[in-house]
């Protein structure tokens, strides 16, 4: 009998074992948690009015005409509950671009690192006096590295401001869940990849209004929720 596999066969066995391990690991995700299949979607009523900011240009010439883009209201949808093996937070960014914070509203998970790159050809000075996170990044140039950042460790609402441009305002909602999404400007939302179980779905509309409904997420299904 001729041994045809030789060392190559041994190597192939190792490769097979490795592929099997990876397959089991990936399968484990699917077996232990059905996220990826479960979806909540629906509609949330949004505040009717929204402001169009006006830039104070009294003592300086501002390029681009000083006209700021409109910022229609949107809602933050997030799922609260006891979750096993929640995914770790990913790094987020709030840009300072054309004299505005972009995005103007950002939901993040507790422990998220948020970077604040300055994309304008001038100084900004991002700061917050909100109790969940008090900081002042100072003045830095667009090319300065590393990009200034903050880690948001406490849940709550953080109002971002610029010490130089008083019209600039942004919000970061720090939540204790990895499952959140922004609605569109019509109030439609789509929250995918949820773990099955009984949870509470919350809709943050503004600093005074948060709606909530109990939901049951069933693996592999799409549930529709309409906030009243």
């Amino acid at each position: 009998m001729r041994w045809t596999g030789g060392p190559g066969c041994v190597g192939g066995a190792w490769r097979c074992a490795w592929l099997l391990a990876v397959g089991l690991w990936l399968g484990g995700w699917g077996l232990s948690d059905a996220r990826g299949d479960s979806v909540l979607e629906g509609l949330v009523p949004l505040p009717k009015s929204h402001t169009l900011p006006v830039m104070n240009q009294r003592y300086e010439i501002v390029a681009r005409g000083g006209v700021l883009a409109p910022r229609p209201p949107v809602a933050i949808l997030y799922l609260e509950g006891a979750f096993t093996n929640p995914p770790p937070p990913v790094v987020q960014r709030v840009l300072q671009k054309e004299y505005m914070f972009l995005p103007g509203l950002l939901p993040v998970q507790v422990g998220t690192r948020v970077e604040f790159p300055n994309l304008d050809p001038t100084y900004h000075n991002v700061f917050s006096y909100s109790s969940p996170k008090r900081f002042d990044l100072g003045r830095y140039r667009p090319e300065d590295r590393p990009v200034p950042y903050q880690v948001f460790e406490k849940p709550g609402l953080v109002t971002l401001r610029c010490d130089i441009h008083e019209h600039m305002r942004g919000l970061i909602l720090v939540v204790e869940t990895p499952y959140f999404a922004l609605s569109d400007t019509e109030g439609r939302f789509h929250l995918p990849g949820l773990p099955p179980g009984r949870h509470t779905l919350k809709a943050w509309l503004d600093s005074r209004t948060t709606l909530q409904v109990p939901v049951t997420v069933i693996a592999g299904t799409t549930n529709r929720v309409v906030f009243q």
């Binding site: 402001t51 169009l52 900011p53 006006v54 830039m55 104070n56 240009q57 009294r58 003592y59 300086e60 010439i61 501002v62 390029a63 681009r64 005409g65 000083g66 006209v67 409109p70 050809p121 001038t122 100084y123 700061f127 917050s128 006096y129 909100s130 109790s131 008090r134 900081f135 002042d136 100072g138 003045r139 830095y140 140039r141 109002t159 401001r161 008083e166 019209h167 305002r169 600093s207």
Partner: protein, 407 residues
């Protein structure tokens, strides 16, 4: 004791406001309510303002442009700003104040329109803009931070508020009139630049790459008093021309030069002039250099002005005034600031024909600490000591406190 009482009144509302976590949210909502738009957002108007409460403890005579015969002064001030964006090319703004005089004084309350202007910017890149109205001078760099919320101090740098032996209401009748400022009539005299100099006129300004330029044609000189700033007060018979050119290689640095030239005497002074001379024969010239730096939590500004006044019968009176100013944020809410001011005077011929200095050399140290309990409130404390070779003002100390609510 009165100053301490005033200070307590200033700190009390700040402490209460500090305890109110929702104050910022409430004032943000007020801000949204005070911003209106129409024509699909093409026309937007925002009303904002500050409410200031200032307390001074001064020696007599008081420093700068303070007008009081007392040792304590309490000044409330309401300032309203109107900013309007009409399409991408038209911008208008106005500033109204209710207080006890443009400069801190114990005079009765009054309401004024301090600034109002319309600006047209034909191109989006800001290469040129045209502005007309009543607004702060383009000269120097202090204009950008002269309002109570932005100014690290309560008072202005020496060049913008220290009165000189110059007075615009009549020609001096003797050398003593120039060199000796009567304490009882200090408001008759003028500084090198009167505050932000909200005079009336036209401005052309723009940005070309790293360069900023501005030129203005105004109705009154930089040293002119607030009563001369309106179109209706002095007209345009003797305009002042000013210009500024600045180089900003990066947001960190800015270097600029400014110049100004115009008549500074008022019409009521004409009968006291030497024969065959008029307002146009007595001019104020000013040349300024500035530098500024900002990096992280530190900001620094420096300005030097060389000024010349043509004084009836006494010729050219020269002066140099400058300052170095720095601010450092110790924490997100707390900053400290320090400013060194200095002013020198040239010589003119006195009544006996000898060359004599027409002013007393001045030095001044201003120190301040500022705290922002919330994003809309600020408390400042300032201590200043000014020295001069004139015995009456030797080591004059000033204590000042200011509480500001911004909305």
């Amino acid at each position: 004791m009165n100053f301490l009482r005033s200070l307590t009144w200033l700190l009390l509302p700040a402490s209460v406001l500090r305890a109110s976590a929702s104050l910022d949210e409430a004032l943000d909502r007020v801000d949204e309510r005070l911003t209106v738009s129409s024509w699909g957002g093409r026309v937007r108007t925002r009303l904002s303002g500050t409410l200031d409460l200032e307390a001074y403890q001064v020696e007599q005579p008081p420093p700068g442009l303070l007008q009081t015969g007392a040792h304590q002064l309490l000044i409330p001030r309401l300032t309203l700003f109107l900013d309007s964006q009409i399409g991408p090319k038209l911008y208008a703004f106005a500033q109204f104040r209710a207080d006890r005089g443009f400069d801190p004084s114990d005079t009765p309350a009054e309401v004024r329109a301090d600034e109002y202007a319309v600006r047209y910017t034909p191109w989006e890149d800001g290469r040129v803009s045209f502005q007309a109205g009543k607004f702060g001078t383009v000269v120097g760099s202090w204009r950008q931070r002269h309002l109570s919320w932005q100014n690290p101090f309560i008072t202005a740098p020496m060049a913008y508020e220290q009165i000189l032996g110059i007075y615009d209401g009549e020609a001096p009748s003797s050398f003593r009139d120039i060199v000796y400022v009567e304490p009882g009539s200090r408001y008759e005299y003028n500084p090198l630049i009167w505050g932000p100099s909200y005079t009336s006129g036209f401005q052309v300004a723009g940005v070309w790459g790293a360069f900023e330029y501005a030129a203005e044609l105004k109705n009154a000189a930089l040293s002119s008093r607030p009563e001369a700033w309106d179109f209706t007060d002095t007209g345009f018979a003797h305009p002042t021309i000013s210009a500024r050119l600045a180089y900003r290689p990066s947001p960190m640095w800015c270097f600029g030069v400014s110049g100004s030239e115009g008549s500074y005497m008022r019409p009521e002074a004409v009968p006291t002039f030497p024969d065959a001379t008029g307002i146009g024969d007595y001019r104020q010239y000013l040349l300024g250099q500035e530098a500024s730096f900002a990096w992280h939590h530190f900001e620094f500004w420096a300005e030097v002005f060389e000024g010349r006044f043509e004084i009836p019968r006494y010729g050219n009176a020269d002066t140099v005034s400058g300052y170095l100013e720095g601010r450092y944020k110790v924490t997100p809410q707390l900053y400290v600031a320090m400013r060194w001011n200095q002013q020198w005077f040239g010589e003119i011929r006195n009544d006996s024909g000898r060359m004599r200095s027409w002013g007393y050399e001045l030095r001044g140290l201003d120190t301040a600490v500022g705290f922002r309990p919330t994003a809309h409130t600020q408390i400042k404390l300032q201590w200043s000591v000014h020295q001069t070779t004139w015995r009456q003002l030797e080591n004059a100390h000033t204590l000042a406190a200011q509480f500001t609510l911004r909305f």
